[in-house]
Symmetry: C2
Subunit: 229 residues, 2 copies
Amino acid sequence: MNKKAVVLLSGGVDSTTTLAIAQSQGYEVWAMSFRYGQRHALELDRARDIAASMKAKKHIIVDIDLRAFGGSALTDEIDVPKDRFEDEIGDGIPITYVPGRNTIFLSFAMAWAETLEIDTIFIGVNALDYSGYPDCRPEFIEAYQRMANMATKAGVEGKTELKILTPLISMTKAEIIQKGSELGVDYGLTLSCYDPDDFGRACGLCDSCFLRKKGFAEAGVIDGITYLS
Amino acid sequence: MNKKAVVLLSGGVDSTTTLAIAQSQGYEVWAMSFRYGQRHALELDRARDIAASMKAKKHIIVDIDLRAFGGSALTDEIDVPKDRFEDEIGDGIPITYVPGRNTIFLSFAMAWAETLEIDTIFIGVNALDYSGYPDCRPEFIEAYQRMANMATKAGVEGKTELKILTPLISMTKAEIIQKGSELGVDYGLTLSCYDPDDFGRACGLCDSCFLRKKGFAEAGVIDGITYLS
C-alpha cells in the first residue's frame, strides 16, 4: 500500500518543494490550497498548475474568508513594503503576517486528512527564513501536532497518530532551491511575489522577491521567472 | 476598561448560555458564527437574532466550506439518526460528528481575537453531554490553548496569554438550562434540532432534540419551542 499525505500547497517555492520532497519519500499527495481573500488570486492558478504537472492525486481549493476580520497587508488594503534593506526583513513580525493563518490552514488539512483516513500532513514552514511569523516555528508545529492528536477520532481511539512533517524547517532558501532542483521541480511555475502585476510578473522589490532572488543566487540555480525590477 | 471576549455562537442552547455566562462575568462579547455547509441555514438566523437580542458588541458569520471534503451527516446527504434509545446516544462517535469542526472554529476565533487584541475566547463545549465528540474534551481544549499561545504574535512576544474558557465543560444539560434561565436567556430563540422543518420547527426525534427535551424536563424549565413529534 502506498503512503498517503495531505500537502499544503500555496504555489510558492517552499510548498512546491515540500510537495516534491513528499513524493520523493514515496507519498501519494492530496494537495490543498486556500482562497482566503488574497489580494491576488494568481497564486491559486499556479497551485493548480503545479498540482497537475506534479501529478498530485487530488487538489482542492478551500474557500475561507480571512478578510472578514482583516489585520494583514496580504488581505487588507495596506501597502506591501518594498525595497527594504536585508536587515529590515525579519526584524520583528512584519505587517504581511496574517493572524492565525497556518493554524487555520493546518486545521483544514487535519479535517481533510481525518476524512480521507490519512495520517500525514506536510507543510513547508521554515524557521530560518520565516520572516518573524510565530506560526512557522518548530515549537508551534509540535504543539499543533499534540493538539491534533486530541482532536481526532483516530487519536481518541488510539488507532493512529497524526504526523505533521516540515522537511524545510531548518533549511535556508538556497538549500530549499537546491533540493527542489535535484528533484526536478519547475520553479518557473511558482509565484513568490506579494505584489505581482496582472500577468503574474513579480515586482522584484518586496521582501518575498528579495529572499527569492537571494536564494536562487546562493543556490547557483537560474530563476525562470520574470521580474519587473 | 471592560473585559472583552470572542464567543463562538451556533444558535443552540449551549453556545447561547455560554454567551450569557460571559456577559454575567463582565465581558463585552464579540460573537462569531460559521456558515459551513450546514444542511439547514436556520441556525445562522437564530444566531443573528440571539446576538442582537443579547446585545453582543459585534456578530460576524464566517464562510467556510466543510462540504469540500465531506465526512459527516451534518454536512453530507446522510440521514440523521432518529428516535434512538438513550443508551444508543453517546455510544462511540456518532455520524453527526464533523471532523475537525471545533479545531477549525477555534482557529478562526483565535485569529479574530488576535486581530481585535482580545485575549479570551468562550466556547460552549461540554464533556458530559458531548455525545462522543473528541474535540469536546478538556484535554483537547488544554492542548488547543497551549498551541494557540505558540501561534500568535502576542504569545511570542510574551505580551498576553490567550485563554479558552469553557464554562459548561462539566455541567449536565439540565444544569446548563437552569443556569441560563437564571441569567434570563430566552431559549425560545435557540435551535437544537439536527433536522428541523422549513419553519424551524424541531423534529423532536433526533439525538439533539432528545437531549434537549430531557434537559428541560430535568431542569424543570418550560421549553418555549415547538416540536413536530
